[in-house]
């Protein structure tokens, strides 16, 4: 490992205190121990402002919080705090600020990038008790909710009014709206209905100083800078959400899905482009490759074509007349693109059955493999075929199977790498396979994360996607909200030190950063 020397030309922004090591930086690293003396100080301080049942510190009580949906990274938190009111959240943050204790917020813990991975010296702030739907206003088409409310629960509450909340990540039965806002979650329907950022009107946020700010509002175009857009997707690093108002949209009268089979992945990718070029914005447009189909079909029995190299699921929603017109148009496009088989759902149960395979890809993966690693990256749609071919080649090299299910409509890729975590070599190879896929995404003009977030998982890849100046500006934005750097530290934005260690520095236009740093 080369010695890293910080050049003297660095600006003030990047001379923040290098945080003490927080948590394992790789799936193979061991968890960090808890400092018992410090733990008792923090517990006492928090028990002064919270009821006893809201403060957990014994290992058997904190163990359930040691990881989120990215279970290959685990770290016991020093203390778990489960507040019940905003006043308590304010008090917790103020105490933590006084004591210099890091705070990691957590919704349902379904996140896939380790965004809620605890800090060994920090508080894990569980917001699950904030599970109230405060108000549904059917005429204004808004829902005001607390962050612990499940995504699907919002739609369930809105259903009697013929409304629903559109962003539908596959984990929606479990994931929380607070987590969705932290990650700017998407889902199958985001091509037509937008990401979380397009569907949130207002966020009530508590800063590390314990001050409450309202971002956005019920009226459009709030004055000042668009801090709501900045907050959505900020991965728990700028403030803690205590309430949000989201948009509800009218539930379409009807939805139909077409299942189209293709003989090659290139043909399927071209068909996706053809749909968009035809001026159609489907309600959902998903692709599953042959390995994915083989994996999900025995489990979901959705009637997927096991012969196809790739299948597309393309949904149309709206009034019956709209859907009839649009489905006819989509079928014509798919036929023109060489679909080998076309099936259109004829009833709501059939439509749900067509989707069952795609939506149950994870449990299906669990049937065929002890573990799986779900990747998340986005690429320009036109590079789909090329990237899938490259992934096929990587499977040979890493000796691991990889099935691909994804949001073809917006090029958001979810390769599922199958492996056995008990085999340390397979774990290491799965990790490396994932890294190579992400680097490829960046290389073809995409991004390292489409919707799962950066968290801890992709923090190293941020060194490839961004220049040091850009990363420094991210740090400065973080500093504008959280000067002591206590909210979810060591996630999302890598420091210079980390990028240099990782070795993947950003080279753009042939200009090597820090050319005077010794390299071996």
């Amino acid at each position: 490992m080369p010695a890293v020397i910080d050049p003297p030309s660095l600006t003030d922004r990047n001379t923040q205190r290098e945080p003490s090591v927080a948590a394992p930086h790789s799936p193979l690293a061991a968890q960090l121990p808890i400092d018992a003396a410090r733990q008792q100080d923090v517990v006492s301080a928090l028990r002064a402002v919270l009821p006893a049942h809201c403060v957990l510190w014994r290992e058997e009580e904190t163990r359930p919080y040691e990881c989120d949906g990215l279970s290959m990274y685990r770290q016991l938190p020093m203390v778990v705090v489960l507040p019940e009111t905003e006043t308590q959240v304010v008090a917790v943050l103020r105490r933590c600020r006084e004591l210099g204790v890091p705070v990691v917020a957590r919704g349902a813990g379904t996140g896939l990038s380790g965004g809620a991975l605890p800090h060994a010296e920090g508080v894990l702030l569980g917001m699950a008790k904030f599970n109230r739907i405060v108000a549904i206003d059917p005429l204004a088409r808004t829902a005001t909710v607390q962050p612990g409310v499940r995504n699907l629960a919002i739609s369930e509450a809105a259903a009697p009014h013929g409304l629903y909340y559109a962003p539908d990540p596959s984990s929606q039965v479990a994931c929380s709206i607070g987590g969705n806002i932290a990650e700017n979650s998407g889902g199958v329907h985001c091509l037509k209905y937008g990401l979380t950022v397009h569907n949130v009107l207002r966020a009530r946020v508590v800063t590390i100083d314990g001050e409450v700010v309202e971002l956005g509002g019920l009226a459009p175009d709030a004055p000042g800078l668009d801090l709501l857009a900045l907050y959505v997707g900020s991965e728990g690093m700028l403030g803690v959400l205590t309430e949000a108002t989201v948009k509800l949209v009218p539930k379409p009268a009807l939805a139909r899905v077409i299942m189209a089979s293709f003989a090659t992945v290139e043909a399927a990718g071209d068909a996706v482009s053809a749909i968009i070029s035809a001026g159609i914005i489907p309600a959902g447009l998903e692709m599953i490759d042959r390995k994915g189909v083989a994996m999900v079909e025995p489990f979901a029995k959705a009637g997927y074509d096991l012969e196809a190299a790739a299948i597309l699921l393309c949904e149309s929603d709206g009034t019956p007349e709209e859907v009839a017109e649009e489905v006819a148009h989509m079928q014509a496009v798919f036929e023109g693109a060489g679909a080998t088989r076309l099936a259109v759902s004829r009833s709501e149960p059939e439509r749900l059955r067509f989707w069952a395979g795609r939506k149950n890809a994870f449990p299906a993966a669990g049937r065929v493999s002890p573990d799986y690693y779900c990747m998340d990256g986005t690429i320009p749609r036109k590079r789909l075929g090329e990237v899938l071919t490259a992934i096929e080649a990587m499977q040979e090299r890493y000796g691991l199977r990889c099935a691909n299910v994804f949001h073809a409509g917006d090029g958001n890729l979810h390769p599922l790498i199958l492996f056995d975590a008990n085999d340390r070599d397979e774990l290491a190879r799965a990790d490396a396979f994932g890294v190579e896929i992400l680097e490829l995404c960046v290389a073809v003009g995409g991004t390292v994360t489409g919707e799962h977030g950066v968290g801890i998982e992709k923090i190293n890849q941020m060194c490839s996607q961004f220049s040091r100046d850009e990363l420094d500006l991210f740090l400065a934005v973080k500093h504008a909200f959280d000067p002591p750097g206590l909210l979810n530290p060591e996630k999302l934005i890598p420091t210079l030190h980390r990028c240099a260690e990782y070795g993947r520095m950003h080279v753009r236009g042939g200009h090597l950063p820090f050319a005077d740093l010794p390299r071996f």
Binding site: H198, E211, L225, L227, T319
Partner: protein, 380 residues
């Protein structure tokens, strides 16, 4: 030593101008075609040097099948929209131009959306990525060309509507939408209260309404989408009234977007009244007809857009009383256009922790406070 990407020669001049301004402590008035110059507070610095992007223009890439267009900031909006129209696509936020020289960079920086905003989204909803020069003259890129991108903080969307306060946009990547297959406008005679109630009722239904406005005792509804959906909606809402002839309809919506409709003409300034101004109100859904505080017994004239969420007031309006009243309704007011600058700030004030965050962000992007000082907020 800079470690940012190598700056293309054409942008190096701007970068040097920014660095020099930082050394001199001299403000920079960032702009494109100057078509939004009327909008916002006056600059704090009287001797700001112009930094104009209008020569840095051209579509960099346009992929209709990806729904993405990338253009240099100085690209004329007319040129961009023509290129999109040729391929049957458009900007979903239907931006006002306010002049032939309007640029896409200025359009994004001003953050103004047109009649389609409530149906399709605002400017920032379509921003995928930007390239910008910050207050140190560094060239930075945020976002990209793909909608599904959550890497890092959303600085690209933050720049939309920032009125140049944080940096100089040099390139923008925008999501585009297909033009609707069918479009029809209805003009239905009704009073303000009835129109607002109708707009609220219709918005809760899956109707293909792309714009809803009210002026001169008439509600105007534009229906856009699949032919079957539009025809069905015409039957349901039209009450047997014939749709507006297409050219007239387009003319009407353009006159709202560009504020060439007679309603928007500012009365001439007179010595006896306070400076006439066009006020823009942004309101939550389901706000009743306006009864704003009146000045000297004169009721302000109203034009409603965005189904009620955006309303314009002309005449007989006193700023402070109006702001307090609008804030009570959960909205905010902007002194959008006037003949003369006034002591009144243009935008609703910011205070407390929110203002502190704004100050720190300004410092992060523009440490020497060079860019359009005072335009977005007196302190920024």
């Amino acid at each position: 030593m800079s470690n940012s990407e190598a700056i293309p020669p054409a942008l190096r001049l701007f970068s040097e101008q920014i660095r020099a301004a930082g050394v001199d402590g001299r403000a920079l008035a960032v702009g494109g075609g100057g078509t939004k110059a009327f909008y916002g507070n006056g600059l704090r610095a009287a001797d700001a040097q112009a930094l104009c992007l209008s020569a840095w223009r051209g579509i960099v890439s346009y992929e209709p099948s990806e729904l993405v267009v990338v253009a240099k900031a100085g690209t004329p909006l007319v040129e961009l929209e023509a290129a999109l129209a040729e391929r049957g696509q458009m900007l979903g936020f239907e931006p006002p131009h306010f002049g032939q020289q309007a640029t896409i960079g200025g359009c994004v920086a001003a953050g103004l959306s047109g009649p389609r905003r409530m149906a399709s989204g605002a400017v920032r909803d379509f921003v995928l990525g930007i390239e910008m020069l910050d207050g140190r003259g560094q060239l930075l890129r945020f976002g990209g060309q793909v909608m599904k991108n959550v890497a890092g903080y959303d600085i690209a969307r933050l720049l939309a509507g920032s009125l140049g306060a944080l940096g100089v946009l040099t390139e923008v990547s925008l999501k585009v939408l297909p033009r609707p297959l069918a479009q029809t406008t209805l003009a239905l005679p009704m009073g303000q209260a009835q129109a607002l109630a109708a707009f609220d009722q219709w918005a809760a239904q899956p109707l293909p309404i792309s714009a809803a406005a009210w002026v001169d005792e008439t509600a105007w509804i534009r229906l856009s989408g699949a032919r079957a959906a539009v025809e069905g909606a015409v039957r349901a809402l039209g009450k047997g009234v014939a749709p507006v002839e297409p050219a007239l309809a387009d003319g009407f919506w353009t006159s709202l977007r560009e504020q060439t409709h007679p309603f928007f003409t500012l009365p001439s300034a007179s010595a006896s009244s306070s400076s006439p101004a066009l006020w823009r109100l942004a309101l939550p859904a389901r706000c009743a007809p306006l009864a704003p505080p009146q000045e000297a017994g004169m009721a302000p004239a109203t034009l409603i857009e965005w189904g009620g969420a955006q309303r314009w007031l002309q005449g007989g309006v006193e700023g402070a009383a109006l702001r307090a009243w609008v804030a009570g309704l959960g909205g905010h007011a902007t002194r959008f256009r006037s003949h003369h600058a006034s002591a009144d700030a243009v935008f609703s004030p910011l205070s407390g922790p929110l203002l502190t965050i704004h100050r720190r962000l300004k410092k992060a992007f523009d440490p020497h406070a060079l860019f359009n000082p005072g335009r977005l907020h007196p302190e920024l």
